[in-house]
Amino acid sequence: MPYRKGRIVKRVTATVTMPVSVTYNGNVKKLNDIADRRNGLCYRNRFMFSLFFTLCILLLFVCFQSDVDARVKGKCRDCHSMHYSYEGSEMTYGGRAGPFPELIEGGCLGCHAQNPSGDENIIEVGKARIPQVLHHMENSDLAAGNFYYVADGYNPDYSKGHNVTEISLQENPPMDVPPAFIPGVIIPGGNGPQDWPNQRQLNCAGTWGCHGDRTKDDPYEAIYGAHHTDDSEIDGSTVGKSYRFLYGITGKEHVDWEYLATIDNHNGYRGNITHDTMDTISYLCGECHAKFHPNPKLGGRKEVGQVYNSLWVRHPADIAFDSVHGGFAGSEYQAYITYSLEAPVAFKEPTGGETEVDLNSVIMCLSCHRAHASPYPDILRWDYNNMFARNGVAGTGCLTCHTRKGGPM
């Protein structure tokens, strides 16, 4: 679940202690250096221009702040209730009674699913902007999708999403255990669970969830402190400094969780085709769905197939287009040129501003799937039942990558 982050704002302070002159070629001179030109209209004009130019630059600094500081901002009381009490009564949130760990008002869903039938995908409470993982804002699902499609009470279809506790009931066997689960895989900080008991439902965080430190059973303990961590640098070293609080994962976070994202301003997903790190977004998926990931710490080649230039047993993730069967040159993947928000790719060092796709771009789980829930079965980004070879719409769905499958070959 994409957790709340405050609006990301980098404040740039420019302090001017002495007027400066900026020449057309960009050189900057102190006025003292041009003292010999202080007489006459020519000097005054140049000085006024220089002053105007300087002020414009300062204005640019003020107006175009960029984003880094991402920790939660706002009143403590907007999220926390010290004693789960107000005016002598206990509080409930969306019909859920507490108290909730960390004194949170309503737990994870109390903040991130405040109004399931409402039409806000990002709710502002005080100074905090909170991404909603369960809402009913038309055509405005965030990057991870929308649990609305799988939430009990809203005509759910359990094939369309992860069945998270308090959103949906647990799925029936065999889907009560993560498909392709492998016991005891290596995860950041330790090992994944040695067993996934049938009665164990998915949580937002912790051992039985996606977010936070998955070596910790308690979901709140797993995510503890992350929202207040300075995560201006996403390096995966702590939960707070991990991409979307997915412990160990790196990447670039779009400030609006991809609401109104553009091809040059989107989430930046981390991929790694050498499979020697645990910081890719696909590795996170593989921690539960291990048989789908070629990393030897997960399913490895045995489960996925030969990694490079081979025929696959399962659709690969964390491989680049240049490692596909037959090679990149002359392949259909060459025609995927412009970054697609519908079928995004990962990058070795993502910036979130990549507009082009090339042989080094990395296929990932999220190229096809969303994380939470989607309108389509298998949490796909598109309706697989309407993907047609030879008659498909080019540049959509599977055909975004498999460019020669849609039209006449």
């Binding site: 500081d69 004693h83 789960y84 009490s85 960390e102």
Partner: protein, 338 residues
């Protein structure tokens, strides 16, 4: 409230001064009695408040030569004392800013006389809290005096003239601020600042112990029970009677005051968010030891009334995370303010 008055050198435990200053505070205070029989006070419920109130802004007043801590000013108090000031609940500021004590203000309109979180089993008094009666300064429906005695006046009778050292909780007079609780529970222990924290600093202040929390829990036990607060982090409710953690953000308690270099691991006491001590020191200490000193109810709340909702020591509405805030919650939660 009934706090100990100024001790004299000769007899440190007893109030000194002109008797009539307190016992004939206003005409009609004592009812006429037959010769040979003791006089009785009239309007007992207002007596405590009358002595401990002031019409001007001063929060320590002189009465017959005795220094009297003021718990209720008629006008805005200049420096509220450690317990707070009933000014904020006596005026039309709303019930949320203080305890609605009889003779100060009317019964809380929301709680209707029921202490929030009251659990009978946590109340050691024999009588228990009577929700049909108002909250009083002392007695079984109050905080001070012996809470086994229903009558507030009787529960504290004589204490002002009793030996009150050492503060060992053995008697009402020898309990911190006359907070005896009951015979089943040792009186509150602590170190009393001689100015009731009026001019408090890191080096001059009250010292508290966990026994103060037990007193609060007598009426608000639900918030003290480990079953309700949780037994470890992450907590369900803000815990009390736990050590200030010696890890994470708490290691730099009171971050605005850097302790000397030779005191590594020791932080500087802040009266705005005080800690309790396992063992009450003989003198106020400016040192705070994370991992040892305690989070207590009074770390965040005042006892009587404060300018802020929930009788907090600060305005919770204006504690804003992530914007370099200082003070308040951030004295302990140092990582949230930056």
């Amino acid at each position: 409230m009934l706090f100990v008055l100024e001790p004299s050198r000769e007899c440190p435990a007893m109030v000194t001064g002109d008797c009539e200053a307190c016992h004939a505070l206003y005409p009609g205070m004592m009812e006429e009695a037959e010769p040979g029989k003791p006089q009785q006070y009239v309007l007992k419920n207002t007596l405590c408040v009358n002595c401990h109130s002031n019409t001007d802004r001063d929060t320590i007043k002189i009465l017959g030569g005795a220094r009297v801590p003021v718990v209720k000013n008629v006008v805005t108090p200049s420096h509220i004392l450690a317990g707070g000031n009933f000014y904020y609940v006596a005026k039309d500021f709303g019930d949320r800013k203080g305890h609605n004590v009889d003779a100060v203000t009317s019964t809380d309109a929301k709680f209707m006389g029921v202490p929030p979180g009251y659990v009978r089993e946590y109340d050691p008094s024999l009588a228990g809290y009577n929700t049909e009666k108002p909250l009083t300064c002392a007695g079984s429906n109050g905080c001070h005096g012996n809470r086994n005695v229903k009558d507030p006046f009787e529960s504290i009778m004589g204490t002002h003239h009793s030996e009150d050292t050492p503060i060992d909780g053995s008697t009402t007079a020898k309990s911190y601020r006359f907070l005896k609780n009951t015979d089943r529970v040792k009186g509150v222990l602590g170190l009393e600042d001689d100015e009731w924290n009026q001019n408090s600093s890191s080096k001059k202040h009250n010292e508290y112990s966990e026994s103060i929390d037990l007193l609060c829990a007598s009426c608000h036990g639900y918030f003290h029970s480990r079953d309700n607060t949780g037994k470890k982090s992450p907590w369900f409710r803000h815990p009390v009677d736990i050590a200030l953690p010696e890890t994470g953000e708490y290691t730099i308690y009171n971050p605005d005051v850097q302790p000397p270099n030779d005191r590594a691991g020791i932080r500087t006491y802040n009266p705005d968010a005080p800690v309790g001590r396992e063992k009450v020191p003989g003198l106020p200490s400016d040192e705070v030891f994370p991992g040892e000193d305690l989070v207590i109810c009074l770390s965040c709340h005042m006892a009587h009334s404060s300018p802020y909702g929930s009788i907090l020591k600060w305005d919770y509405e204006n504690i804003i995370a992530g914007e370099e805030g200082k003070g308040g919650c951030f004295i302990c939660h140092t990582g949230k303010g930056e």
